[in-house]
Amino acid sequence: MTDAELIEKLKSDLGDTVEEISNPARRRLFLKVAPQRLLAVTTRLRDAYGVVFLSTISGVDNGEMFEILYHFSTPETDYNIRTEIPKANPHIDSITPAIPGAVLYERELQDMFGIVVDGIPDARPLVLPDDWPAGNFPLRKDWKHERPQEVIPGGKS
């Protein structure tokens, strides 16, 4: 099935749950969905189209909004599901009920952007250290690294 045929099929099948489908290059489909429909679309794609392999989840800070991309691939084509959530209330549903392998990427998303993933089976930090100050999310555009002053334990001799 070519990309164009697949888009037609997806449009008739998913209807208005998908806001937009674009195909900028061969084997690259970008589907835009509302955040509350993300899990439903993922489950539908998994059951009807065999979309079981999640490569990764990318977060992008667009100022007022966070853009989240779920990169899936099948032997036929690559599906990139795009969704947007407001920075003021960053909540997204976990897709682990459909794709259990997503948990590490969702934890990374929580660490790096401060996005709260609702229903994640394991919400501990993944890459940030245990003593990382709360409310610091390194991949947000407004976050700047300030090197903490070095303190010699016990003071200078």
Binding site: P24, A25, R27, R28, V52, F53, L54, S55, T56, S58, G59, V60, D61, L69, H71, S73, P75, D78, N80, I99, P100, G101, A102, V103, L104, Y105, M112, P125, L126, V127, L128, P129, P138, L139, H145
Partner: protein, 400 residues
């Protein structure tokens, strides 16, 4: 009673800082927890402050073994953003280095697998032969680890007739040796007995946990980016995707050796078809606003970069997913229900020492889940008490 054994993050036997917490009951592992982040360098944030060319050298330093994979994955994505068409000769040289890197990485892994299985002569032979391909890489690029041959729009060094002849000679030696290792790896009784059935990962689990690369292929899931999403030269060369159905460490050895043989085939075809002409085109300084998803089959599995540009000379966002991260959930699954003695084999590249792990261990009360730290002397006392009350015959004969 279950114990929790912490291994790492700093451990004399671990090559890389990763923390594993094994919950064990006797010799059997019942739970595994992996903690990451001890070596997090903030590369994605750093990449937003550097221009397109500087980032080639940054992403090349993500990994010390598959350095070319990350650089190539990044470069082929940025070339799409800049709408560049690198000359054929440049692409052929770039993917020749890719395949040579796969050869060196798989030979390295094969040696480590032999070492972990207690087959050290195998390890020494394999690593001796790995020097052949390392020398070829040095001959082509000038470096053994960070080849730095990629540039936006092509490659930085050309091949001459003398180099091509030397590569062909090297491939003949490597193929002969790899066929021998294939024979050994699949037939040597003690080696096979050690690795068969260890680290079982069913196909269903491999699919559910999104395993990548040889790990997925050894569980009978034939996914290879080179085949399903052929980038650059891979639709012009003939090769097969190596798979195995045994779902264990033996399958992973077989898959990697088969991939070695396929890589020799690809290298020879690339050298046969190497077209004349330029090796690079000039790249613009800025890229138009846009986004691209670049996929690449690294030696360890699928490597994916998501690159977004905003019209300046720096990326808006660079997301990197290295294949090993994708394989961690599957590794947890492989370790579960395994034996402590199989951890090094399953983890392969890691060589943890269990007996000298720590002087104190953390105990989890199976009923309440409460953690408590016990000293070695307490454990010893508990063991003696338990032994005295155990319903065992004191004069039992060991059944030999």
């Amino acid at each position: 009673m279950s114990f929790q054994i912490p291994i790492g993050p700093q451990h004399p036997a671990l090559k890389e800082p990763i923390s594993l917490r094994m919950t064990v009951e006797g010799e059997v592992i019942t739970g595994v927890d992996i903690r990451l982040g001890y070596n997090h360098r903030g590369l994605e944030k750093l990449a937003e402050d550097r221009n397109w060319t500087q980032n080639i050298y940054l992403v090349e330093r993500i990994c010390g073994i598959c350095s070319h994979s990350h650089a190539t994955c990044y470069v082929q994505g940025v070339e799409k953003l800049m709408e560049l068409a690198p000359p054929k000769r440049g692409l052929y040289i770039r993917y020749l280095v890719s395949e040579l890197e796969r050869i060196h990485s798989h030979l390295l892994w094969l040696g480590v697998a032999g070492h972990e299985a207690g087959f050290d002569s195998f390890f020494m032979y394999v690593w001796r032969d790995r020097e052949v391909v390392m020398d070829l890489l040095e001959l082509i690029t000038g470096n053994r680890v960070h080849y730095a041959i990629n540039t936006l729009g092509g490659v930085r060094r050309d091949l001459d007739a003398g180099q091509i002849a030397k590569i062909r000679d090297g491939l003949v030696v490597l193929r002969k040796r790899s066929e021998y290792y294939f024979h050994i790896g699949a037939n040597e009784p003690s080696f096979v007995a050690r690795i068969a059935g260890v680290g079982y990962l069913s196909k269903e689990k491999a699919v559910a946990l999104c395993a990548v690369g040889p790990t997925a292929r050894a569980s009978g899931w034939a996914r290879d980016v080179r085949k399903e999403d052929p980038y650059a030269v891979y639709d012009e060369v003939d090769f097969d995707v190596a798979t195995a159905d045994s779902c264990d460490v033996l399958g992973r050895v077989v898959v990697r050796v088969k991939e070695l043989l396929e890589s020799y085939k690809i290298c020879e075809q690339i050298l046969d078809k190497l077209p004349p002409g330029d090796i690079a085109v000039k790249a613009p300084r800025k890229a138009k606003p846009g986004e691209v998803v670049s996929r690449y089959e690294a030696p360890r599995g699928e490597n994916i970069h998501y690159i977004k540009s905003n019209g300046t000379d720096k990326p808006e966002r660079l997301k990197v997913r290295a294949p090993t991260l994708g394989n961690y959930p599957a590794t947890v699954e492989m370790l579960r229900k395994g034996f402590i003695a199989d951890i090094p084999l399953i983890f392969a590249a890691i060589d943890p020492c269990i007996c000298c792990a720590e002087r104190s261990v953390t105990l989890i009360d199976a009923g309440s889940g409460e953690e408590s730290v016990a000293r070695m002397s307490d454990l010893r006392r508990r063991a003696i008490v338990r032994h005295e009350n155990a319903p065992l015959k004191r004069n039992a004969v060991w059944p030999l």
